[in-house]
Symmetry: C2
Subunit: 189 residues, 2 copies
Amino acid sequence: MEKPEAPPSRRDEILDAAERMIRAAGYNAFSTRDVAEAVGIKAASVHYHFPTKADIGVAVTRRYTERFLLELGEPAAFKGNLGKTIAHYADAFRRALKRDGKLCVCAVLGAEIGGLPADVGEHTRMFFERNLEWLTGAMMASSRIGAARARRHATLVLAALEGALIVSKSLGDESVFARVADGLENVRA
Amino acid sequence: MEKPEAPPSRRDEILDAAERMIRAAGYNAFSTRDVAEAVGIKAASVHYHFPTKADIGVAVTRRYTERFLLELGEPAAFKGNLGKTIAHYADAFRRALKRDGKLCVCAVLGAEIGGLPADVGEHTRMFFERNLEWLTGAMMASSRIGAARARRHATLVLAALEGALIVSKSLGDESVFARVADGLENVRA
DNA sequence: GTCTATAATTTGATAGAC
DNA sequence: GTCTATCAAATTATAGAC
């Protein structure tokens, strides 16, 4: 057994609650007390695990980024099919939206970036940077596309998916995201 | 003279300041005091013009939407060229980013939508709805595209541009937006 | 229209007992 | 690790003088 069924640590529970709140309404819309109540402890106990609110923001963003990239797998695994590569990538976002009707952590934080603690903003930047790297690599592995063209198309796909989450949620219509994702799969780079 | 050089009313000054702050960091990142200080009055005076903070949010979003659509002009004005229609539409967003390095009001509010007063969220939704209408109409006027296909491509373009603003700002690289906009002009619907 | 004053609540954070 | 207690500051908003 690779996963010994470990129960979530309190630290994880705090991050779970904070992530949910960030994805629903943003960094400035929740308090450490909100998190505490969601977990079933007191605000002071949250501060024991994370001295400042910014520490929570950084930890949520780091964990989210690592999970996201882990779920994507190796960029070289999609040889020979650009459309499938994009479909696979879009699915990572689609799952988030479908599962709990929530946006990408970094779509929300990116929109608020001018009002975030510096280190939270920095980790948000790194999410986008690393995703562009992954997508560019996967596109180059799955078609004869050159590096510059791949990077350019990767940027378009990333931007369109993040934007689609926002428009989809704002309109209260999940099919909006699906249509954007489908459209991207059929666009030539 | 169509514009009699009217000085901005205090009401306008308040909305100008609030709009700047929303576009920089979001609805939950500014206070009525912040707005008051930016305008050079006291917070109580802001509440004279707008009883609640939500009233400011609604007024900013309404004004922004009207201006945006007015600037776009008539959707029928781009007969015969889909690429130019998309370029014209992208320019509306590009100007915002270039002028002051700031996002679209509704890109930010849309990302935070779960934490907004209901009426602010509703007007955010209407911005997207009306933009999709405009773009769909303009695309149908400028090419032989059918209604369903036009609406679908309009959604892709809108999502990609809103997302591009966020990724561009987060990476601190204006050229990201430019590359997404250029890429969209060359995509076939 | 703008101000002072103030109320009521929330927020991020700390000290120290258990 | 979690709690109670507490703090200083900030936030939204109102009453009433000028």
